[in-house]
């Protein structure tokens, strides 16, 4: 029988080992983004030169900006549509409602590769050229279910009598939405936006199917860079993306905590 102390020690060693394993490769990337040695096998002194090189690489910077643009737009549109969808599913009765919820569930559960195929096929069938619009529509769609469940959870939580009172006093649906529902679910809306933004920025698989030569985004560019070998610019990109993600995650955690 293990003593309490031994068991505690064992548990914490296990947790520490897992976290060391999770963080070590990322920390090495960040450290190497400042390392004068190209291959990063040893520390050759602090440098900003890879950051300079990154910003000189116009195609890469453009791809980075394109990714941020898609993520920002997709998150915004997905948040608007997703909030309205959550409202429809929570508040209204309509035909095919079960099918609609089912579709959201399918998007959430399907492996990215399957979604990627379905998007590719529908864009070709509709004659939508692969590029900006196809990327935007695909990103909006795969972000939607995450906005819907975040907002829906918040909608379920609040007092129905408020809405009934407003209705009895003659407020129209759009007025109820604007003046009561929107302010009450606002934290969830922000959280949904941030989640969508990071999901969009993180996507590789779907983007690689629905992108075209006219509009290049980061994952595709990075993929071709790291496939051939080591590139210190990727370390810099990783560091920048990590900072962006950390800011967003912290922000969303703070926002969601406020309601408790």
């Amino acid at each position: 029988m293990m003593t309490g102390f031994n068991r505690k020690f064992f548990q914490w060693s296990f947790i520490t080992a897992i976290f060391a394993w999770l963080y070590l490769p990322i920390v090495l990337l960040v450290v190497n983004s400042f390392n004068d040695s190209k291959y990063g096998h040893e520390w050759k002194g602090f440098t900003w030169k890879w950051y300079e090189k990154l910003f000189e690489n116009e195609a890469l910077v453009q791809a980075f900006l394109n990714s941020l643009l898609i993520a920002g737009l997709a998150a915004t549109v997905a948040t608007i549509i997703g909030t309205l969808m959550a409202l429809a599913i929570h508040r209204y009765r309509f035909p095919l409602k079960g099918t609609a919820s089912g579709m959201l569930f399918v998007v959430m559960m399907s492996p990215d590769i399957v979604l990627a195929i379905t998007f590719l096929v529908v864009f070709i069938a509709l004659g939508i050229q692969l590029g900006f619009w196809s990327l935007l529509i695909a990103h909006i769609t795969f972000c939607l279910p995450f906005v819907v469940i975040t907002v829906y959870a918040q909608l379920k939580g609040f007092d129905k009598h408020l809405l009934e009172a407003a209705q009895d006093l003659g407020a129209s649906e759009s007025r109820i939405f604007r003046l009561i529902i929107l302010p009450l679910v606002f934290p969830a809306i922000i959280a949904g936006w941030l989640l969508s933004f990071t999901l969009s920025l993180d996507d590789v698989i779907i983007s690689s199917f629905v992108t075209g030569p006219s509009f290049e985004i980061l994952p595709i560019r990075v993929f071709s860079m790291v496939k051939v070998g080591v590139s210190p610019e990727v370390n810099v990109l990783a560091t920048l993306l990590l900072i962006i993600s950390l800011l967003l995650v912290t922000l969303s955690t703070l926002l969601l905590r406020r309601k408790y």
Binding site: F14, Y39, Y92, S110, P111, I124, A138, K227, V234
Partner: protein, 290 residues
């Protein structure tokens, strides 16, 4: 009174149905249709309807590749479970504050681009990477071991990228676990293994299945992980599907593969809901006797 058609309510409903119909339902139906059409180099797909692509799923040549990629994804899922389960269990016993902090730390790398994390693993596993430095430094091996471009590297990378997906549902199911049941089992004289086997495991089974589901399904599709870490031989189902669409231009076969993947997903989901129902019906515990 007849309500006008362009009210707020109807617009919202119309938008919901329009978007999900056009970009989710129709595309899935289209993929199903494509899978029974004939491939054509110029027009992607042409008539007539044929089940050739479906028949090719059972071609021994492809079956071998499928089984291998399923095996890689399955092994990834198993290792995630073996690491994630004890991790979630330990987490569940910690005070709420610590649990929150550790879960947050678990999620942070999950928000870094997974392609970049895969690249990080590629660097770590290289001949002069951290892993080999450790192996040589600790005297376990004399010279660097060839780790990259092996099945080991693919599974290592997949586990690295997907572990948080396993931990989150497990933590949620441990949260729901009623600690009094464990005390009751202890008071009734159940030993460590008996408590685990008959109380903890059945009650956390929905978390186990959910975790396995959201690790296994993406693990089959992550073609970039096997591309970067596995080389040309260690293919995932995602690589095969991608090749059909992007390289060989055999859309019907690629579509048939995707539909097969969807069917597999449906089967696993059904299993999940069945397990959940079983737990709810029995009020929690398995009744096959101790």
């Amino acid at each position: 009174m007849i309500k006008p058609l362009f009210t707020f309510r109807y617009s919202v409903i119309a938008l919901t149905l329009f978007w999900l119909g056009l970009f989710v339902l129709v595309p899935h139906v289209l993929v199903l249709i494509v899978s029974v059409l004939s491939p054509d180099p110029q027009h992607l797909v042409v008539w007539p309807l044929t089940l050739d692509s479906w028949a090719r799923l059972f071609d021994p040549l492809y079956l071998e590749v499928f089984w291998y990629s399923l095996w890689l994804s399955g092994l990834t899922t198993l290792i995630c479970l073996l690491l994630g389960y004890p991790f979630a269990w330990v987490l569940a016993q910690l005070p709420a504050w610590w649990r929150g902090v550790l879960l947050f730390l678990m999620i942070v790398p999950f928000w870094t681009n997974s392609l970049i994390r895969t690249y990080a693993i590629k660097l770590s596993l290289g001949n002069k990477g951290v892993v080999n430095s450790l192996l040589v430094g600790l005297g376990i091996t004399d010279e660097p071991v060839e780790l990259l471009y092996t099945p080991f590297a693919v599974v290592f990378g997949l586990v690295y990228v997907l572990l948080p997906f396993m931990v989150l549902p497990l933590v949620a199911s441990f949260d729901k676990l009623d600690k009094h049941l464990l005390e009751a089992a202890r008071d009734l004289g159940a030993g460590w293994w008996q408590r685990f086997r008959h109380v903890v495991l059945p009650l956390t089974m929905p978390g186990v299945i959910a975790g396995c589901l959201i690790v296994f399904l993406p693990a089959m599709g992550m073609f970039y992980v096997s591309d970067l870490l596995g080389g040309a031989k260690n293919l995932l189902l995602g690589n095969i599907i991608r090749n059909q669409f992007m390289v060989v231009h055999d859309w019907p076969f690629g579509a048939a593969l995707s539909v097969a993947l969807i069917m597999l997903m449906a089967m696993l989901l059904w299993l999940y809901f069945a397990a959940n129902r079983r737990i709810n019906r029995q009020g929690g515990l398995d009744d096959d006797g101790i």
